[in-house]
Amino acid sequence: MIISIASGKGGTGKTTVATNLALSLDPPVRVLDCDVEEPNAHLFLKPRFEASHTVTTPVPSVDEGKCSLCGKCGEICQFKAILVIGQTVLTFPEMCHSCGGCVEVCPEKAITETGRELGIIEEGRRDGVEFVHGRLKVGEAMAPPLIRKVRAYEKADGLTIIDAPPGTSCPVITSMKQTDFVILVTEPTPFGLHDLELAVGAVETLGIPCGLVINRSDLGDDRVREFARTKQIPLLMEIPFDRGIAEAYSRGIPFVEERPEWKEKFRALYQSIQKIVH
């Protein structure tokens, strides 16, 4: 089973749910941190890293000796990543979406592709939990290709947990599509509700079953619960605000380690998801 954890908004506790859930279940469990802009799950799981790979994306490289300056590459490119100016071809690798159009269109076969570094993937493990995350290079805008590489580590056995980035645009969609279930983590505040509504919209677009975990459930108001009721989204778990949990978080400690009674609740959470999916 593949469960993705999303929230619309950052800081609601996605990583908390992902890591504590992983540590409460029997192996095989793997956590894929797809929040490649700000991967945080490793700070809590503290895996021993065993392998690291550089991830690249293809970008054009022009052989000026062959180029006839016809300008077709610039015409086909929708992202302003290549154009002919005067007697040279300029490329802007940061703008390139790696569609390969310029290579295809070039009548002189003057364009080949070289790899531009997007970031790295690191693999590790911690006790029974396998762990993979991507780390986008700072200054790099193309998260989805790196996310796709992280998701290549999904396996059919046991449970794969995907920690998705915040928001509802391309990186989140890339992280949650074709998963079996989405856990939406929210907090019971107007900001939490507003972003939850957007996230539910995204999940509905993808047609994936989802359920709700409310974090800091005693701060704020009741509108998130009302929304869940009208939308018939099952409320799977509530985690109250607890200064002890907040302080454990601040030190990078998954709270099931300090409050082992919560392991049972996370197991129950997984069981209720299994019932919904099957």
Binding site: E37, Q78, A141, A143, S250
Partner: protein, 288 residues
């Protein structure tokens, strides 16, 4: 004209609550919500929308089945696997690169501009505001961010307003890059956690990469004062100016639930005083 962009590396640090408080304190400014993916500032400012405009950020391929001969060239060329065996384009997968459109021998693929969202010019009790809403599952948030900031700038110039207060998106990727270029300064709102430290470092590196001066304040600082100090030390070593600490205070949540800024709920509180001091230091730094 100055522009301050508030960013955080990650959501949930209190960026929007803080910018709401600044909106109350700042004079003669334009508000700008550049977190187009999950805009929240309007929940505090309750804007009255004066103008709304469609945002068209790109095109999507659309196969005209009457002209299509199912030759399969488009499927072969598409690197996003966006075209099904039935020759339907999945709009969620289509990158809008137009390669299939260009090469289709039958000219059977259309490439219409798609509407990806809306943007608004509004009035609020704190002054004018520019904000937007990106459609769900849409791309091009970077382009929409750029547009929202340009409109805020135009508005400020027209109305002779000397400050733009911009609520930035989380992360360090495309939308954040679009939100900080050319800003006078960025204010990083961090929290005293291991992930807060990690996120602050990445976003401070990003600001340095784009040569925008960075300032820092640590929110919820008393949840882990040691970590707060460590974050400030790391930030300082990266050339970031430290502005101060804000305690964990449920007052922010109470204010948010009522759709108010901190100062409208309890400006005389200790947290209120702290935020006011941070704002005054911030203004001095901006005007230096």
């Amino acid at each position: 004209m100055k522009e301050l962009v508030v960013i955080s590396g990650k959501g949930g640090t209190g960026k929007t609550s803080l910018i709401g408080a600044f909106a109350y304190l700042a004079e003669n400014k334009v508000l700008c919500d550049a977190d187009v993916d999950a805009a929240d500032l309007h929940l505090l400012t309750k804007p009255e929308i004066m103008e709304h405009h469609d945002f068209q950020g790109g095109s999507l391929a659309k196969i005209n089945r009457e002209k299509c001969t199912e030759c399969g060239l488009c499927r072969e060329l598409c690197r996003w696997e966006a075209i099904s065996e039935e020759f339907q384009v999945d709009p969620l997968e289509c990158e809008g690169c137009g390669v299939c459109v260009y090469f289709c021998p039958e000219k059977a693929i259309d490439f219409p501009l798609s509407t990806n969202g809306e943007w608004y010019l509004s009035e609020t009790r704190f002054g004018p505001m520019v904000h937007a809403r990106l459609g769900i599952a849409e791309e091009n948030s970077g382009k929409l961010v750029t547009l929202v900031r340009q409109e805020a700038k135009k508005l400020a110039e027209k109305d002779h307003r000397d400050l733009i207060l911009t609520d930035g998106p989380p992360g360090v990727g495309c939308p954040v890059i679009a939100s900080i270029g050319g800003a006078t300064a960025v204010l990083i709102v961090s929290e005293p956690t291991v992930s807060g430290m990690h996120d602050m470092e990445r976003v401070a590196d990003l600001a340095a990469f784009f040569k925008v001066p960075a300032l820092l304040c640590v929110n919820k600082a008393d949840l882990n004062p040691e970590k707060a100090r460590a974050i400030e030390e790391h930030a300082e070593a990266k050339g970031v100016t430290i502005l101060g600490r804000i305690p964990f205070d449920p007052l922010f949540t109470h204010a948010m639930v009522q759709g108010k800024t901190l100062f409208e709920l309890d400006g005389a509180s200790r947290t209120g005083e702290t935020v006011r001091t941070i704002w005054e230091d911030l203004l001095r730094t901006l005007n230096r």
